[in-house]
Amino acid sequence: MPPEGDSHDAARRSLLKGLTAAIALLAGDFRGLIAAPLGGGEQLQFRRTLTTLAHDLFPHKGLAIGHYEAVAALLLDEAAKDDGIAAQLRAGIAALEKGEPPWADRSEEGRVAAIERIAGSRFFSLARTKSIEQLYRDKAVWRLLGYEGSSVEYGGYVDRGFDDIDWLPDGKDDL
């Protein structure tokens, strides 16, 4: 490197560097910045935060907390296998935790406002995807939704209501 002849240049470069880092932070992209496995303390804290987050993303009345804990377990499991995912969790949760009190201790309104601020980030998209994959493959949620799932063991739906709709109008003018 030649010696800095122009302090303006150096200042500009440093500013650009700072901007790039800030953009990376804003985008929630910590990959490469902090890519390390989650520590024990983080695991505990993250488990609570992710469980509450899964609930706030898809709150269903009457669905026990254990079903949301399963989402947190799934995410932590993936983070244990992939440092990139761990970094995403770390960054996303840090963004969620901005301010006081701890995110999970806030009112639902306060928590939702914080989620709205991170919607669109990679972490949000990861949390939403994994929440859907875990929750909407869960038979307890299926019962809540009225989805009956596998039918082959019951001989299909041929005698179990595949054509039982009864509220459709018959003629053209009765709606």
Binding site: I115, A119, E133, Y147, I165, P169
Partner: protein
Amino acid sequence: MSRQYELDDSSVVVVVGSGAGGGVLSAALSGQGVDVVCLEAGPRLSLSDFINDEALMFRKLTWLDPREGSGDLNPGLPAYICKTVGGTTVHWTALAMRPLADEFRPLSKYGAIAAANLMDWPIPYRALEPYFAKAEFLMGVAGTHGWPYHPGSNNYKVLEAGARRVGYRAVDMGHLAINSVARDGRPKCRQIGFCKSGCAIGAKWSTLYTEIPKAEATGHFELRPESMVVRLVNDASGRITGVVYASRDGSLHEQKARTVCIAANSIETPRLLLNSTSPLYPDGIGNGNGHVGRHYMRHVFAGVEALMPGAVNFHRGIQQAGSVSDERYHQPGRGFASGYHIEGAPLSPERLAFVLDPEGWGREYSKLLENYSNFAACLIVGEDLPDENNRVSLHATRKDRFGLPIPAIHYQYHENSLAMREHAQSAAESIYEAVGAKRTFRFGAPPATHNLGTCRMAERDREGVCNPWGRVFGTKNLFVSDGSQFVSATTANPTLTIVSLALRQADHLVQQLVRREQ
């Protein structure tokens, strides 16, 4: 009785792929006494492997080798097709529809369209008509050959009632290649749902348990599953002498052949041609004019979901729940060329949660999902236009585990497609609103199950990759035998046409083999 052929047996016809194209071609050739070795990349499953679990079967059946999509495609999963014996006939929803005669003449019918490369098919529609009938018979298509249509399911009844109220007339349960009566050693449909997860009772036609066992019974056929063809081999004269394939353990083998037919779907077929370079074919086989991989089509594909005032339970029964065909005809007054079908298609809770609002979450969204029972849904399937810039090519940097470049797939919607999609989604919304929909939702672009046109047939090599019989230009004994041959997408779901082309090609090949021209 299944045969076994030696690797150096150069008297065999090698078929690459065992789906609608390759499975049918294999059975038709071996049925006429031709010795066939069919190499299939995926494993061989049986009916007992098909369980009613969409997420699990997706992982088991889907082609998940790395591919990269760009343009308007999902980058990670640009296409949703199968890697298993039977190919995409294992997960297809069985709509076996004939194209219209006019749809074989898109250039003549629609006229030249900017930013598209329309061409008429080099074969007359009437040349395929007898094969359409033959294919419908072979597949047991309901509503043809005296077989009854399937009874309408709840999701269909909503679609039908709404469609009739807005004035549509061409509404029926569709020509489904699912047994509506027991036949061909397979039972009648039991409205199980889960057609996309593999039909657990074999009522739906799939080469896995129809054409493949029939081919094996001829004594002229060997299927090698988990055998991924990576390269074609040619001699200095340009003759294709065999194929190199990787078996399960990754080791490479060379199977000699008198003739090679590729039916690996519209992404892997051009990829195989492009990856087969030699001094004679520096840019890949059949690619002298740069057409291999171009004109990739995937249909105008979109969805509409509707929250209805009462229970529908759209998950019960046949997944492809009927079709509205009034809008398939070319009516330029609508502001776009060609047309589309509206086809009943339900979603699992997981899929509904993903697509109803692709960014949806929170109390209101979760409450909406709790109305799962009250949803009706359909898919739009319309003709998209061939565009030479929409293409399958070899990725510049990413390689698969055999060191071969992965497929890069680029696709951008033509403005004709966008206008059609807008019209179709509005039409579908009107249908549901006519029977009281409280809210409707649009679903943009699912990964394509219909992948077409990347080795299109043409009169001359300046215009395409293969001749009207599917023979690759510049070669004597290499054929394309799948949807890659399509010149236009047509408004029809493509499988019946793929099967018909395979049957026609088999007759041609047998004639050539008898005359020792192959």
